[in-house]
Amino acid sequence: MRYIMCLLLVLSGPVAAHSWTPTYPKLKQSFVEGIYVAEMELWNSRGDISYYTFEVFDDNFEHVPWAAEERNVPVEYLERKKINIYIRRIDLPRVRYICSRSLHVKQNKSASLVSSRICSKIK
């Protein structure tokens, strides 16, 4: 099994990954009264992706309003970036998932692209 795994890793070519941590973030009071913040970290090793966006959802995956310094953030290949997601106090009881999602640029060949989305959970 180890040999198969090593072979797959070798054959898989350059790494193109996306990670979003922590898995279970804590919402803390921000510097603005009535606004809470989740401090997240995004890592981009997808060479085909230069931009990420964020989403906040409730238990039923309905959108919850949020704010950040930028809605679509440029993230270089192999860059690790700190992202603050701001949420109003009145929305706190509804917030369940904080997600990051890769954004694609227009293509010039027919392709089935993969958009990755990772969601952390507020417990």
Binding site: S12, S19, Y24, A111, L113, V114
Partner: protein
């Protein structure tokens, strides 16, 4: 006398230096990493069909999920049901597709294929074991009733989600 005091002072200093600790702290954090191992390509076997099947000249995209802690995440993969980029289309497109396990780093993960939940164009798999799982996604678009697709670039997006449990 002075030499004896100096020697005693050096000995005391040396002993206190010896007591210094150098701790190495580690932390295993729950984490999901989604990796695109193979980019998908549509083949065009007939005028009305776009398919990722290798028989049709396409390439099925492969996505790898790495989890550090068991039962902390689920994979939710959605195969395309519309084009994100295409020429103007005047007829309907019917979509088919599927998601299946291509390879695993732990033999127990082979149960993912039987335990998966499928609805609409989405497949959900609880990632119950630590390690890596490779999922391949197939997609096919049939245009009209064997109607020729207009020339141009066609792009559709597979959504690979990793959701904390």
């Amino acid at each position: 006398m002075f030499k004896k005091i100096l020697a005693a002072a050096i000995a005391v200093t040396a002993m206190s230096a010896q007591a210094l600790d150098a701790p190495i702290v580690g932390n295993v954090e729950s984490k999901c990493v989604v990796t695109l191992d193979k980019q998908g390509v549509y083949g065009n076997p007939t005028a009305s069909v776009l398919s990722t099947d290798s028989v049709d000249g396409g390439v099925e995209p492969v996505v790898r999920y790495d989890v550090v802690i068991a039962s902390a995440y689920k994979a939710v993969i959605t195969h395309p049901s519309s084009f994100s980029q295409s020429p103007a289309l005047t007829d309907t497109v019917s979509w088919t597709g599927s998601t299946s396990v291509e390879a695993v780093s732990d033999a127990q993960m082979s149960a993912y294929d039987t335990d998966k939940i499928e609805y609409d164009s989405t497949t959900e798999i609880d990632l119950d074991y630590t390690g890596s799982t490779w999922f391949k996604v197939s997609s096919e678009a049939d245009y009209g009733v064997s109607k020729a697709l207009p020339g141009g670039t066609y792009t559709a997006i597979v959504q690979a989600n990793c959701i904390a449990l």
